[in-house]
């Protein structure tokens, strides 16, 4: 048991007026202590829902329909409400996408940190306040001692996200879930927030799950990458390897759609044609098959399993990985890159 978090077969659906939307379809993932796992995917690929399911923080219509998530020896899916709330904000911290709406507008930012500390630590209000100031200094909010009494609307987006980080790290969690922490921010601020997260991760020795749709963010920050599509894991590999040799056609498509600064202004972007599948009626086979440039007949018929691809830590959900695949060569060997 070296893993901090071990998720198997996680399945989550949303029950909406249009029917059941299968947001997450059997996701397995592991996070080791102190590592940064990046999860990439388009909107609706199920990356956020996966993480919110792990913490059982889904909104009303969301239902976890199967799977387990063992965190530090306890299955989060089996814990009762009390034990789960003891853990949230304490052993697992969360940062959300939009710092403009994730803070309560009617409470001071300090209070929002203090209440987290008071909930999980047996200390007085004064000590909790001192802790809040200390946390604000740690996330480098200027004049922390006075800014704790300010309200969220008096902060910029980047500063609010720092407050969110302070809240998430208030109890020194073993795992930080960062759900698109920089998506809503200016590009310059994005960089600051990312390096802050990375620095604090190193200092506090915690593990991080970083959800993003930005491959650049992944390249800079993550140790390991998981690519999600259609509520499933498509590919998983150490970060250097996935950029050197993406195995899955979807990952290749993602990489190809990144603008290349060397050809900026000359060539056109090459987006992946088509749109993600409708998850209220997902395709029978590989969810990417309808958009896949190398799809075979089997792809639309049957779901491929996650093949081991190129190494013990590398997995790819693609029929091309199958021994029987005729065209597997260019996608499965080193010289294809």
């Amino acid at each position: 048991m070296t893993e901090l978090l071990n998720v198997t077969g996680l399945t989550t659906s949303f029950h909406t007026s249009r029917g059941r939307v299968q947001a997450v379809r059997g996701v397995d993932l592991t996070v080791k202590p102190g590592e940064i796992l990046g999860i990439v995917g388009e909107s609706g690929s199920g990356k956020s829902v996966t993480c919110m399911s792990i913490l059982r923080l889904l909104k009303r219509q969301g239902r976890i329909e199967g799977g387990s998530a063992v965190f530090d020896g306890r299955d989060l899916m089996e814990l009762d409400e009390d034990a789960l709330t003891d853990l949230r904000g304490n052993e697992i911290g969360v940062i959300f996408q939009d710092p403009m709406s994730s803070l309560n507008p009617t409470l001071t930012v300090g209070e929002q940190v203090i209440e987290t500390v008071l909930r999980h630590r047996n200390i007085g209000r004064r000590a909790a306040r001192a802790r809040a100031v200390e946390l604000f200094e740690m996330v480098r909010i200027p004049s922390a001692a006075t800014r704790v009494d300010a309200y969220p609307h008096e902060f910029s987006g980047g500063m609010r996200q720092r407050v969110m980080i302070a809240i998430a790290l208030a109890c020194e969690p073993k795992l930080l879930i960062a759900d698109e922490p920089t998506t809503a921010l200016d590009v310059t601020i994005q960089r600051q927030i990312l390096s802050l997260i990375k620095e604090l991760q190193g200092r506090l020795g915690m593990a991080v799950i970083l959800i993003t749709h930005d491959l650049g963010v992944i390249a800079e920050t993550a140790d390991r990458v998981m690519v999600m599509y259609g509520g499933m894991v498509m590919e998983e590999a150490p970060v250097a390897e996935i950029f050197a040799l993406p195995r899955h056609p979807y990952t290749r498509g993602l990489m190809a759609s990144i603008p290349d600064p060397r050809t900026a202004g000359e060539g056109r972007l090459s987006p992946i044609p088509g749109t993600p599948p409708d998850m209220s009626d997902p395709p029978k086979g590989c969810p990417f098959a309808p958009r896949c440039p190398v799809a075979m007949r089997v792809c639309a018929e049957e779901m491929p399993r996650l093949y081991e691809a190129g190494g013990p830590a590398n997995r790819s959900r693609c029929w091309l990985m199958d021994e029987a695949a005729p065209a597997r060569a260019p996608y499965n060997t080193e010289d294809a890159a």
């Binding site: 709330t85 904000g89 709406s101 309560n104 507008p105």
Partner: protein
Amino acid sequence: MANGALSRLPLAYVGQRLVLMLVTLWAVITLTFFLMHAVPGGPFVSEKMLAPEIEAALNAKYGLDEPIWRQYLNYLGSVITFDLGPSFKYPGMSVNEMIAEGLPVTAQTGLLAVLCVVALGVPLGVAAALNRNRWPDTAVMTIATIGAAIPSYVIATVCLYIFALRLGWVPAFGLDDWRGYFLPVFALSGFWLSFIARLTRSSLLETLDQDYMTTARAKGLKRRKILLKHGLRNSLIPVVTIMGPVIANLLTGSFVIEQIFALPGIGRHFVLSITNRDYTAIMGITIFYAAFLMLMIFIVDMLYVWLDPRIDYRRRA
């Protein structure tokens, strides 16, 4: 924190608002005065024709023989000294006295109705929101819809029939017995109670869907704390907003309810003074209601500073 709130409410702004209220009040007075005089007839015109000389004498006594602008200025002059003038229909009684006599009765039932609206409406709305689409929600919303749809006089008469006449639990009229308050207060609060319950429900549901509520859950806070500290406070802001006019409305009474339960309140003067063409009473009661309504709205606006830290009146002053 209280200091922080007060600093966002500069005296200059309060003064500005008070001045604005006086200007509004003046506009109300002027408009009502000329509209009232534009309507044909007068306080001393009735089926029984008065002798012309008596009518002329009465008009002279009350200054109705003077040109209209003169009457207007005279009236304005007396209003400034808080003198609302003598009633034309109740000889020997001033409008100030009319209000002073009826207001305590009205305010008492009104205040109880306000308490009823807040103490029942808000919890019912919360219960409905927390049980969204389950039976408590359906029950509360059904009753609230009925309560808002049925006019108060229907509620009043039906209740009167059942509880006073049939069951004899409460007196049919008057407030001599404490039980006499039940029906008028219930009938008076019915509409606003339903309204506040619905408003609280929808506002809380909206708040519960906010991202910061997910943040509160992600922090591991207990359900109760999330609801009270993060949910309720934010969702009550629109409720407080509407409570200003609601309090003004309830405390100034209802003609219908006071008529049905034979309460000697101010509400019936509202209507009777108009049919009587009791000029000074119309003016006096209108001014009183307008001033009271503005005062309530003013108080609510000032309270915002404590409710919502984003409200800052310094920029407006």
